[in-house]
Amino acid sequence: MRLAAAELVDSREILPGQWLQSYHAPDLAIGSRAGQFVHARTGDFSGLVLRRPFSLNTADPSTGIITIHFRVVGRGTEWFTHLRPGDAIDLLGPLGRPFEVDSRSQHILLIAGGLGIAGVRMLADEAIRAGRQVTLLFGAASARDVYPSSLLPDEVEYVVATDDGTLGHHGFVTELVTDYEGWADQAFACGPTPMLAVLAQLVAGRRDRLGVAKLGRRRGGGRTAPAGSPAARRKAFLQVSMEQNMGCAVGACLGCVVMTTSGTPQRVCREGPVFAYDEIAWQGGW
């Protein structure tokens, strides 16, 4: 974690109200992993007292370029859209814990709901670089909100669902998962919490029949890693990237917690944003 200067290189509205921005931030492009995020300071000091957390959408160590993808939801996100190439902002990062891919996983299933694509996008790059096959299931309200395939690596198999049926499968993206769960060694999802809860429900109770578990036990596989550890998450068929209103993003303020099955709230910024599906208490628990 460090405070890094980032210079805007490119900024464009790729979907209605959704922006893709590239920043030159070598300190963050090197050493960041898929699933991690940055906490960006707005330059509007007149009234905005909090930073804004953004998933690292992509990070290219060779060029030092990172990208973020966000929707304009208020004054803070609006402020970022007014930046011009050459403008510098201040990013705190990389923050949070990344997705954990089992070394045996060859088939990677990514599931994204709407802007959730920003949470799993970088994992596609990482997986392809590691020689894995990637399928992305993407859900949106309507065709106009569908993530452009031109922004994805060619190697990714891209399957779309829309709520209104204007493109691809007519229905929720979660309905596509049954067709791919047999193929997938591991699945990684980001999107609205109800979507993630449905996915967790699909997977629940079938841990020994899905994904990496069916590849057979490794040496020492009998040992159970403590819940929440990278080793335990690596064994999970489904990992989810959670979202929550955030204050400090370093674990100090305890603002961004989610309830876990252990009965203890965990910080999205520190223990997360990536969790194994069975760590989260989807019904709440307060």
Partner: protein
């Protein structure tokens, strides 16, 4: 606290150094009744005849009972965790002090999310005192705190006098714990937090009980959610507190984007940030004229002018809170900037900045703790 690397003797206030509250003489605390304008050091903006380097300015704050802060810029409870979270981004040894996350007798899971939201010029939070309990806090962090130069004040919350007393007892004598900041004002705990802070009798009672339980320096944090702070401040001071801190957050709510319910999981949250600064200024202004113990200000401190404002109304130190979220380097920058301003004005001590905006004839407010008299 000898483990901090400071000789214990240097941190003790010799009784002989005790000065009367007002009408006293000699620097650094100039208790001048009526303060003739010619003697007001703060008015001097022309360069001093003797050059003073920023590093030569005395920024130390003596809160009494042996607690000496290296400088008057602290970090506020709840915004800096247990001091370790910001890692290399903030050098904790340059801070004047650290008020840790609110600590209770038993572990608490806190309030359901969402817990934070931004508001105009500020933010609302309703963490609900999530913490692992005092024993776990001591076990996990005290050893680290003992190695720091910056004193750590453990912020203590509770739902009964007995809870407060028990937590204080367990903190007493723990290396690394430099003092206690009593949170009797956290507005997020329905079961009683607010009641102590809004009633002079209850505030005095809990302060006195904790005072009897520990010899640790005892700071008590005031709630702004009261009609008149003066009787409450007086009761806390009379009960033996070494200093006051003010203010805690203001109670408020925010709405969900669809306006179909309050946004925060707990409905109510505490407002902090620049939006509360005028309220904090008013309460510090009133408190310093009511009590003889030092007052530490909290409320929207973001830049040096905020620090100077709070010193001018009589605070001896400030805590930086919400501003840390936007820029974690703010507190240390304020330490440097304060020293530069003092040096530029020819001041050998920042204490000359204290109380300049108070009504004349009152004498300077206390910039030093009362020596412990059992």
């Amino acid at each position: 606290m000898t483990a901090t690397g400071r000789p214990a003797a240097a941190r003790r206030t010799p009784a002989a150094a005790e000065r009367p509250r007002s009408g006293g003489s000699g620097p650094p605390v100039q208790g001048l009744s009526g303060r003739p304008a010619a003697l007001r050091p703060v008015a001097r903006d022309t360069p001093a005849t003797v050059e003073i380097a920023p590093s030569q300015v005395d920024l130390s704050v003596d809160l009494g009972r042996g607690l000496v802060l290296p400088n008057p810029i602290l970090v506020a409870s709840g915004t800096f965790g247990y001091g370790i979270e910001y890692g290399d981004v903030v050098d904790v040894n340059r801070l004047g002090g650290i008020c840790c996350k609110g600590t209770t007798l038993r572990a608490r899971i806190g309030n359901p999310p969402p817990r934070v939201t931004e508001t105009p010029g500020g933010m609302l939070n309703s963490i609900g005192l999530q913490n692992p309990g005092v024993d776990a806090v001591i076990e996990k962090y005290a050893r680290t705190w003992a190695t720091w130069r910056a004193p750590v004040l453990v912020n203590v919350a509770g739902e009964s006098v007995r809870d407060y007393v028990e937590v204080a007892r367990r903190l007493d004598g723990v290396p690394g714990v430099a003092g206690i900041e009593l949170n009797i004002s956290c507005p997020n705990v329905g079961a009683g937090g607010l009641q102590f802070a809004i009633d002079a009798g209850a505030a005095g009672e809990v302060t006195a009980a904790v005072r009897r339980a520990t010899d640790l320096p005892l700071l008590v944090k005031l709630s702004p959610n009261v009609a008149d702070i003066r009787p409450i401040a007086r009761a806390i001071a009379d009960a033996g507190a070494d200093a006051l801190t003010a203010i805690n957050t203001l109670s408020g709510i925010a709405l969900s984007p669809r306006r179909d319910r309050p946004l925060l999981g707990n409905i109510y949250g505490g407002l902090s940030g620049p939006a509360v600064k005028p309220v904090a200024l008013r309460i510090v202004y009133e408190a310093v004229q009511t009590v003889k113990i030092p007052v530490i200000a909290i409320g929207g401190v973001t830049e040096l002018s905020d620090v100077l404002d709070f010193l001018a109304v009589g605070a001896v130190a400030v805590q930086v809170g919400t501003a840390i979220f936007a820029d974690p380097t703010v507190p240390i920058r304020l330490v440097d900037e304060l020293a530069v301003v003092c040096a530029r004005r020819g001041m050998t001590s920042y204490r000359d900045l204290i109380g300049t905006a108070l009504p004349p004839g009152k004498g300077r407010p206390s910039a030093k703790g009362v020596e412990y008299r059992p």
